[in-house]
Every structure is written in C-alpha cells, then in structure tokens.
Amino acid sequence: MATTPVRLGETGSGFLQQVALGPLLSRFAVDEVGAGERAAALAKRSIKKESKVAALRLAVAVMDLTTLEGADTVGKVQALCSKARRPDPSDPEVPPVAAICVYPSLVATARQALAGSGVKVASVATAFPSGQASLAVRLADVAEAVEAGADEIDMVINRGAFLAGRHQEVFEEIVVVKEACGQARLKVILETGELGTLDNVRRASVLAMAAGADFIKTSTGKIQPAATLPVALVMLEAIRDFHDRTGRMVGMKPAGGVRTAKQAIQHLVVVNETLGPDWLTPEWFRLGASSLLNDCLMQLAKERSGRYQSGDYFTKD
C-alpha cells in the first residue's frame, strides 16, 4: 500500500504558467444573479409525456446510486446492488443505474454483487467527507479503494487550503490522487456548499479540471446547500469553456439534494442547454443520489398506469 510520504511541489509545479489557465482562476467573476435567473428559467421547462418518460429513464441510467452512511452493512450494499441491476423488476424498459457509490470498505462487496452487470463501482476516498487527514492517509484511502476494484474514485478537495488561497497545493494534491487512481476515473468533489461564492465554484472547477479530473462533482451530500441548479450551471459553463480551450471533455456530477424526479429532469435540461446532448450519457454525466431512484420509478409507474403512486409499493433503500 502506498503510504510513502509524498512531497508536494514535485508534481505539476508552476502549472499556472504551464497550462496557461491562470487568467481563468483569477480574472473570472460569476454573475450570481444572472446564474440564478438562467437556472430558474431553465427549471421552468415543461417536459411532458414521451419526453418525460425518456428523461426519467435517462435519469436512472446516469444515476450513481449512493449509500454513504455509518450504518452501511454488507447486506444493505448487496440489496442496493440488486436494485441497481434492475431498478424496477415490473418494468423491463427501466435501465440499470450507472454506478453504485460506497465507502472503500464496501467496494469488494459491491464489486462481487455487480459482477457481469455493467454497473460500475464508485468509491469515495481521500478521507471523505471532510478531507481533513494527511495526504499520505488520503492516498492510502484511494489505493485501498482501487485495489478493492473501484472503477471510479470520488475524492474531496482540500477546502481548507482552497479557502486559504493555497490553490497550488489543492492542484498538486489532485494531481497525485489522479496518479494514485491508475485506471480508475477520478471525480473531484468541490463541496460547493463550503466554497461560499460562485466565483469560488468556478475557480475550483477550473483548478480540478486542469489538474486532471475526469469529472467534477458538486458535493458530498453531507453539507447543505448541495447541488443547487445555479451551482451546477456555473460548473457546466466552466466545463464548456475548458472544453473550448483545451478540447478535453470533462464529466459533471451533481450530488446531494437531488431528491425528486422533477429536480433530476431540471438538471438534465441544464446540461443539455449548456453542454449539449454529447454530455447526456453515463460516460459524461452522473446524478449522485440515494432517494432519487424511487421517485423516478414512481413517476415512471405513474406515466405507465395513470395513477399516482405510493412509496408503500417500492423497496425502501
């Protein structure tokens, strides 16, 4: 296990000059009111009938079904995995979810339960959710998850360093975590609820993408507010501008606070309007959620039967 101390400054140092993204970090000011209004306007889109059914199925297909509780057990993760393979046994049209997201200690369990299903296993790491541990410990956390078979790693950024203005340190930490991931894709959690302003959200997004993130993710789900639409919009615009500048696609994952099918569809609309349909696949867009799946299934059942549904008829996760 990689517990050798890592000295920062040896990797990617001086990136601001190298990558020429410095201006994006310092000069950018986000129009908070404008972002709020744009998000609110897009949220009003009326998606009905066939489009709604298609959107709901897409929401299921891009979902990272998540359980990150102290009370998680092997049994609970196995149950969640069987739900991930086939979310609604009564409706063959409902696709499997994109991934299961668990703590590193349960990756092996999930790996086994999902064998052959095509559903990915994602693991949070780097002393999730606070990230307040030494870099060596955080890297060991990543290595453990990767060894246990995680396809994707959700890391948290060092918000303490970021808010203190030590951007270089945050950048270099992401770089070394990315190296530790090996083949696994890296999602970088910005924890926007702790960043304070949309300017910071934009800055952290650019930082994470420049450092090699495959995905940028809003939140851990442990802090409120989490994935609000304006925040998602700002991150999506950062991805768009980064893609324009570098030609590299980066994925987006809103997580935390997306509880209803309606909210999920609003996120899909914002992605479609900002990045276009290329991003609306499990490859480049994910919705991190625990209670969202049942609401999507209930809405799909409602579209099918014409009857409003009851939680009594769906499995409790």
Binding site: G306, R307, Y308, Q309, S310, G311, D312, Y313
Partner: protein, 294 residues
C-alpha cells in the same frame, strides 16, 4: 370617495394544503353563487396536481398525528371547537348565505358544529377501549385487539350541508389519527374554506386536514385512483360518480364508505348526525399475541 368611507376588503378563497393556503396550481377559478343565485365569490378550481400535493402533505403529516397521544388529539379537537366558537358570527353569516336559511337556523347549525367537535374530541381517548378488546384464547397468551388509524383518507364532503355536514364527517376521520384530503362541497365551498382557517389556528399540525375546492367530477378520480390514499368517505357524491370512484379505488383495495343521505334536519339531530361507528369506519384492528409470564 367621501371622507370616512372605506373600500371593501374582500377575502380571497384559497385551498388549504399542508397548513398553508396556496392558490390552485392550475390557476383556475370558478364562480360560487349564494343560495339565491347571486354571485358571491370566486373559489379555486382545484386540479389533479392539487390532489397530488394534498395527498403528499397528508402522508407527510400521518406519522406525527397518528403518533400523538389520544389525549393530545382530543385537546386539539377541542381547541378547534373553541376557535370555531370564537368566529361564530362569521360562520352564521356564511352558512345563512350559502344555504339560504334564516339566521336563526344558521346559528343553530353553527352551534351544533361546535358541539360536534366537542363530542368527537371526547372520543379520542375512549375509542381504543370501545373498539379494542382483550380476547380470551385457548393458550398461555394475552391477546389484544387494538384499533389503529387507516392512514390517509379522502373525504368528499356532503353537498348540501356546507359546514355541519363537513364537520360531522371530518371529525370522526381525524380523531383516531388519520390524516385526510377533503373535497369541499362543489356548490357551497366557502364555509369549508373558512373552517380551514379555523383548523389552521387550532394547533392541528399542518397537513392533517387538506382542503380542496373545485369540481368533484375532476377531483375525485385522481383521489380514488391514488395508491397512497388508504380509504375514502364518498359521503357527498351522487350515485354515478360514486360507482366510478369505487371502481378506481379497487386497485389498492381502499376502504370505501358509500354516500349517506341525510337532510339538513338530520345533520342537526344527534341521533342521526353523529355516530361512534363513523370513527370505526376508518380504523384497522391489530391483534397482538403476547406470551404470559415473559
């Protein structure tokens, strides 16, 4: 305008969902006339999405209300009676105008509505003793049957008796811990909305009673087919709509209470207008076996 004259401050009649008074999601309204046919006010013409929101609010309120002690529920119902008494004059005016009766009859009706809340409030901590039992069994067990609330109940209020009829059907539903979605009388909805204002100021938790106004033909379908509704009191429906609702309710085997035909006089009578078995209609009996000596 001459000195001292005032502009009318007219009331906007809205829905009552989850302890708040929203307008209908659909933005529609319909004209309500008084008993003489004179236009009186515009009421919200609720939609199926209002039904959905109301059922959601009722479901959310269910654990808290059914988990409250019987003593507490009795106190809250008595508090409703107190608040209703305090606004007696307003209700007398509204009932007289809605039902076209004299002020004397309207006053009698409002007084009876207050008394009915008090009567059902008294049942809160007695219904378990009356409808439950300790059963003799052939074995070393204690065997208890205890009543529990059915859950979320849809109530279609009586069409003619706008206040007393509604109170007489509503109080027995909520006294045992059910929460409900009420469809007010289509032609006489205004006293029901004013009653909602009383409920909102009576310590009754938001969402225990949700009140919709609009066309029964439009609202009862989604309510009857909603899988999160556990029972229906279809007291105010005519026969054709009742048959339709009964069919829709069969999908998840709701308890359905058929229409009751009572005249305005009957609602005023204690012998006909109140009944502990109207409470029992929305109770489920749970029987528990407990080994003796453990």
């Amino acid at each position: 305008m001459a000195e001292g004259e005032r502009l009318d401050v007219r009331k906007t009649y809205k829905l009552y969902i989850g302890g708040k008074f929203p307008r209908t999601e659909s933005g529609r309204s319909y004209l309500v006339s008084d008993a003489k046919g004179k236009p009186w006010a515009n009421a919200c013409r609720g939609s199926r999405k209002d039904v959905r929101d109301a059922v959601q609010a009722a479901r959310k309120a269910a654990p808290g209300w059914s988990g409250a002690t019987a003593y507490n529920r009795g106190q809250v119902l008595y508090r409703v009676a107190e608040m209703l008494e305090g606004r007696r004059e307003q209700f007398v005016d509204e009932v007289a105008r809605a039902e076209g009766v004299t002020r004397r009859v309207a006053a009698e009706t409002v007084d009876k509505a207050v008394d009915r809340w008090v009567w059902y409030a008294g049942w809160a901590d007695k219904l378990t003793q009356v409808f439950g039992s300790a059963n003799p069994v052939a074995g070393p067990y204690f065997n208890f049957s205890v009543p529990e609330p059915t859950g979320v109940v849809g109530v279609v209020a009586p069409a003619a008796s706008s206040l007393l009829g509604l109170v007489s059907r509503l109080a027995p539903v909520i006294v045992s811990g059910n929460t409900c979605v009420v469809v007010a009388s289509e032609t006489r909805p205004l006293p029901a909305i004013t009653l909602a204002e009383v409920l909102a100021t009576s310590d009754l938790p938001g969402g225990v009673v949700n009140l919709l106004t609009g066309f029964a033909a439009e609202l009862v379908g989604p309510l009857a087919s909603h899988l999160d509704v556990n029972a229906l009191d279809l007291g105010g429906l005519d026969l054709a709509l009742y048959r339709e609702a009964e069919l829709a309710a069969a999908e998840n085997v709701k308890r359905v209470v058929p229409p009751v035909k009572l005249s305005a006089r009957d609602w005023l009578s204690d012998a006909k207008g109140q009944d502990p078995y109207w409470i029992a209609a929305f109770l489920e009996i749970k029987t528990v076996w407990h080994p003796i000596g453990v």
